[in-house]
């Protein structure tokens, strides 16, 4: 394998990993606060991709406007999911909310089939993102491959700034440890939870849009596998930890791309690596790389 191809793979892994990471952040925020696996998160990601498809390709919005519209619409969908399917179950056993999440995931996927049909639709890639750039040493990269990780890292940076430098961020970190104690401080817990869903959905929308550009098509079930893998990335990095989610996503991306790059015969097993990785980490370090231990009380 020459350097050129290796760099191609490296950039590929970086893009894929940062996309997983971006989706994983949404899982980790919601799980950190509500201890709920938001199974619908992968489908929110799919909605983001569809919205941008409709905005730019069907209704011919300029790209910038289309992307912003898609992010806003996706965020609204994420908030609605919380409001309709999870909020009534805050006091219920956690398992109820989990089953509700499975129901919502089902609903969004099939609703997408009804509205958008099950046919995959091609996405037209803006030529400016696809024109290869030559680097010295014969390395050729397309701008999209660089754009994806740059945007992802920038967004996670913004999120970390929000979490660690603003008041709502402080409240969000606090409620993930102790909802009631945070409520005693005068924090409107439901607003903060909604904020977490909103932020997670917005990031998933961006990830969905970039995913649609990378594999230039959209289809109703496109969120399923990336969704589950992103959750795995979140567990791997340590559920509840935003940097952990990003690191978990990157590791997953690299394992997937590199194992196939070095051992092409294993390509059929590509999707199994994520699960193997998950089971290994759960067995040997159940709290994930950066996670904190949650203790049961006797």
């Amino acid at each position: 394998m020459n350097l050129n191809i290796f760099i191609q793979h490296f950039i590929n892994a970086l893009s894929l990993g940062s996309l997983y990471g971006l989706v994983a952040v949404g899982y980790t925020m919601v799980y950190g606060i509500l201890r709920l696996i938001n199974f619908a998160h992968g489908d929110i990601f799919m909605l983001g991709a569809y919205f941008v498809y409709f905005a730019t390709i069907v209704y011919h919005f300029p790209w910038a406007v289309g992307v912003i519209t898609a992010i806003i619409l996706t965020t609204i969908c994420g908030l609605l999911v919380d409001r309709i399917a999870y909020k009534p179950l805050r006091e219920a056993p956690r398992i109820s909310a989990l089953i509700s999440a499975i129901g919502v995931s089902f609903f969004i996927e099939n609703f997408a089939v009804v509205v958008f049909t099950g046919m995959p639709r091609p996405v037209v890639q803006p030529p400016i993102l696809m024109k290869p750039i030559e680097f010295s040493g014969g390395v050729r990269l397309i701008p999209l491959g660089i754009l994806v990780p740059v945007v992802s890292f920038a967004l996670v940076g913004v999120l970390l700034w929000l979490l660690y430098r603003t008041k709502p961020g402080l409240a969000m970190r606090a409620i993930s440890f102790d909802i009631e104690a945070t409520r005693m401080m005068g924090v409107s817990v439901n607003k903060i939870i909604a904020l977490a869903f909103g932020l997670g959905s917005a990031l998933a929308a961006v990830a969905g849009i970039m995913w649609a550009l990378r594999y230039p098509r959209v289809e109703p079930f496109m969120g399923m596998t990336p969704g589950i893998k992103a959750f795995i990335a979140a567990v791997f990095g340590g559920i509840g930890s935003v940097p952990g989610a990003m690191i978990g996503g990157l590791i997953l991306g690299f394992v997937e791309i590199m194992s196939v790059a070095f051992f092409p015969t294993l390509s059929g097993y590509k999707d199994a690596f994520a699960f193997l990785l998950l089971i290994m980490i759960l067995l040997f370090r159940p709290t994930g790389l950066l996670g904190e231990k949650l203790e049961d009380k006797i």
């Binding site: 399917a85 509700s100 499975i102 099939n110 959750f231 097993y269 199994a272």
Partner: protein, 608 residues
């Protein structure tokens, strides 16, 4: 009398249903016969997932994977060599596999067994995880199984799948299998072992203190559930005659999950009703995806609409009727008949020093919860452990009863070292306890709570409960345990509540029930954690008498933590005082009352 009546009614119902199945091909068209078949298969799948999740409380999302294993194993066994030769196009089939063959009945049993073996392999590492992580890990295994099937073309024909599987799954076959599965499940759940399964779900910590090796119990339930998954998958394959890896995606697991949620988590009856409802509805809803013509109006079919309605219903069920149709209730013939009220040995051992605690230290992080604690308890003593909140009393209990490993020091019970033994082993050795914040198996009856306590003193093995009519030990031992439990309940004044749900009892009665359950394990040594908490003065006066009676009637040695000084001073022979993990005083009640260090620790400075 009641039992005979119910048995006769059951036999009549089964015969009538068999007669119906016999005539079904004449009465029903192929479409409805298929639905009837699917109902039975889905019911088997639902029962098996319910056993894992609803009954034993393990959130598993791996059922589709075990179905896939079952479907493939059975299909590979019933397909003829000629069919196999024709089907493997891309790669050659393994030669040994070409000629492997088995009759249908054998094939579905083998399918179940192979799925159960995989289940066991999965369970051993994964069941150490709890809650959501278990769900995700099992989901992961199911996906891995699917990916393996896709990629091992020489074994499974890969993504092309298997076609032309003989349609052996007749109505009698599917319903017959359901009948056997149902019978075994019901028998097991009605035995005391079934009570143990539900106890693990309701409160794992308390179950361990009842001497139950909860990990083992969970592995058994999971493996049995996987058997059901494999069996259901095999029947499914032989019904629809074509299988491929895409059939066994997570969606398949969700469907079964939907059935048990609609029917009621933990209810066998619910799984059957849920299966009938959900299966019929799913098939019936197909109409919205097909074009319909009414007169001259053409309504085009809407693909996907079926699952949209389906998922909306799931969300609505979970938001508005969380417990499903049956909740945890079960069908019984008794509902047609008015219920009548129904209306009972003691252990002994003599060792002088029952418990010997030496230099026990327990640290969490850097902080000592207990510092260098030593004391002895003699046979027949009632010993008190007191001290302000946070003094380390409950930590001491947790160390003695095996929930925490001491950081250093030794604990000897009846002369044997028990430091570091798990709670179930400690319990087996003859120690039992209650908890500060009552930990009953809340969904179970009062009687079942006590019977669960007796499980460790029973001799029969769990697998015998699948067929108690063969292994009559199960029935005999269970009825002995039941009689003893009733006896205990009447001694503790709880007999009237025997068939009530434990969580519905008044507070004081719940405390007594917890003690009854502890006594059912036949302890020689009993630890009581704040038995008087939340009782009014009159109740605690009664408790005082009760604790003395316990010691005398059951020949017990008792260690208790208590804040109510009247109880402590009234009942204890000897008292130890802890403060911030340190043993600050010991003596008879009168000595303790006069001890200045105790007064200071309890009342604050300046009180003495």
């Amino acid at each position: 009398m009641r039992r005979t009546r119910n048995l006769i009614l059951t036999v009549i119902a089964v015969v009538l249903f068999a007669f119906f199945l016999d005539k079904a091909p004449l009465l029903l068209n192929g479409y409805w016969q298929r639905i009837l078949n699917l109902i039975a298969i889905n019911a088997i799948l639902a029962l098996s997932l319910n056993l894992i999740y609803g009954i034993t409380g393990m959130f598993s999302l791996g059922h589709a994977g075990f179905m896939a294993i079952g479907a493939y194993v059975s299909a590979l066994l019933v397909l003829s060599p000629a069919q196999k030769n024709a089907m493997w196009i891309l790669e050659d089939i393994y030669p040994w596999l070409l000629n492997v063959n088995a009759p249908f009945i054998a094939s579905i049993i083998i399918a179940g067994v192979v799925a159960a073996i995989f289940g066991l392999l999965v369970a051993l590492p994964v069941l150490r995880l709890g809650g959501d992580y278990l769900g995700i890990a099992t989901l992961g295994f199911a996906e891995i199984i699917r990916i393996l099937i896709t990629n091992t073309a020489r074994l499974t024909n890969g993504s092309l799948g298997l076609k032309g599987i003989p349609a052996y799954t007749t109505l009698f076959m599917s319903w017959g299998c359901l009948g056997v599965v149902l019978l075994c499940t019901v028998c097991m759940l009605r035995s005391n072992f079934g009570g143990v399964l539900r106890a693990v779900r309701d409160d794992e910590v308390a179950a361990r203190m009842m001497g139950i090796n909860t990990f083992r119990v969970k592995v058994i339930a999971f493996t049995l559930g996987c058997f059901g998954g494999g069996l259901g998958g095999a029947l499914m394959g032989n019904l629809i005659t074509t299988i491929d890896p895409r059939m066994f995606m997570i969606t398949q697991t969700y469907n079964i999950l939907m059935i048990i949620v609609v029917g009621g988590l933990g209810s066998v009856t619910g799984s059957i009703i849920g299966s009938a409802l959900v299966t019929t509805m799913l098939e019936w809803l197909r109409f919205v995806e097909n074009p319909i013509t009414i007169g001259s109006i053409n309504i085009p079919g809407i693909p996907g609409m079926r699952m949209v309605i389906f998922s909306l219903l799931l969300i609505m069920v979970i938001i508005f009727r969380r417990e499903g149709i049956m909740g945890m209730r079960e069908f019984t013939w008794d509902i047609f008949f008015p219920r009548r009220k129904r209306a009972a040995e003691s252990p002994s051992a003599k060792t002088d020093t029952v418990l010997e605690v030496r230099d026990v230290t327990l640290k969490f992080g850097g902080l000592s919860a207990i510092d260098d604690l030593s004391f002895d308890i003699k046979h027949g003593q009632i010993m008190g452990l007191i001290g302000p909140n946070g003094a380390g009393k409950t930590s001491a209990f947790n160390v003695i009863s095996g929930f925490y490993k001491p950081t250093s020091g030794t604990i000897k019970f009846m002369g044997e070292s028990i430091g570091g033994l798990s709670p179930d082993k400690v319990c087996k050795a003859g120690m039992s306890r209650t908890f500060q914040n009552i930990r009953l198996f809340g969904h179970e009856t009062v009687l079942q709570n006590v019977m669960t306590g007796s499980r460790i003193r029973q001799k029969y093995s769990w697998w015998m409960t699948l067929a108690p009519f063969v292994f009559t030990d199960v029935i005999r031992e269970d009825s002995a345990v039941k009689a003893r439990a009733m006896d205990l309940l009447s001694q503790l004044g709880l007999a009237d509540f025997a068939y009530e749900k434990a969580s519905s009892l008044p507070y004081g009665a719940q405390r007594r029930l917890e003690i009854a359950r502890a006594l059912a394990t036949r302890p020689k040594f009993l630890l009581l954690d704040e038995p008087a908490a939340g009782m009014n003065p009159q109740e605690s006066e009664e408790l005082l008498q009760f604790i003395r009676r316990l010691r005398d009637e059951f020949d017990l040695t008792i260690l208790l933590i208590e804040h109510d000084m009247k109880v402590v001073m009234g009942v204890c022979d000897y008292i130890h005082v802890l403060d911030q993990g340190v043993h600050i005083a010991q003596g008879t009640p009168d000595e303790i009352k006069a001890n200045p260090r105790v007064i200071e620790a309890y009342l604050g400075k300046g009180a003495a």
